[in-house]
Amino acid sequence: MDIIVRTVSRILFPLIILIGSFTALHGHLTPGGAFPAGAIIATGFALLVLVFSEGDVEHKLTRNELIDLKSVSGILLIILILSIGATFRENLLSTQIPLNIWSGGFTLFSNIAGMFMVITAIVLIIYSMVRE
């Protein structure tokens, strides 16, 4: 693509990642959460695929890495959610002050794992759709 578009997207990509990570990490304090955060970060990767070629992006972040990440985060998410039954109302981290980053029990970790699930799903779909 154009050099202007390439330069701007090179500057914009880290900012998109930053906003997405903020949305996930502060999901239990501010509006947002795992699903919007994953959608934002996957949009950044979609921008990269659109501006640069698909092969360049896939060279940096391969399909197998994405599948590994997806499996690990999925297993983590299942463990976290199944542990609700044991720890509901008395979360392991529930002794903290509200509106602190370490409040909300497992919600922070669930948000991170869910974000990775959404990112990998959307980026994998983009990869396989673009090649077609």
Binding site: N91, S94, P98, G104, T107, A121, L124, S128
Partner: protein, 99 residues
């Protein structure tokens, strides 16, 4: 003989559909008014106790990941299944599906 049975089945199907439509139409009358707070004990429970029980200030997040965590697990499973479905449909045998 076969035609008669099909005709019977069709009449039965129409009857069931009309009954269902009638029941649904009648039940619309008994719905609570739009925006009213009658019979919303569950919503009020979440609003009042979400912060106390889960400790997260975002009420939506506390519902999604704590009160209804199993539902969210199912959502993630659906996401996983959707990705695998796309992979299955759009794979090229020339490259091998795992490349």
């Amino acid at each position: 003989m076969k035609k008669k049975r099909i005709e019977k089945n069709r009449i039965a199907g129409y009857t069931v559909l009309i009954l269902l439509a009638a029941i649904l139409s009648i039940s619309v009358v008994y719905l609570p008014e739009f925006g009213s707070f009658q019979n919303k004990k569950v919503a009020l429970f979440y609003l009042r106790n979400g912060l106390i029980f889960t400790g997260s200030a975002n009420i939506v997040n506390s519902i999604v990941w704590d009160f209804r965590g199993y539902d969210t697990m199912g959502e993630e499973t659906v996401l996983f299944a959707a990705t695998m479905g796309v992979f299955l449909i759009i794979r090229r045998k020339r490259y091998g599906y795992n490349r």
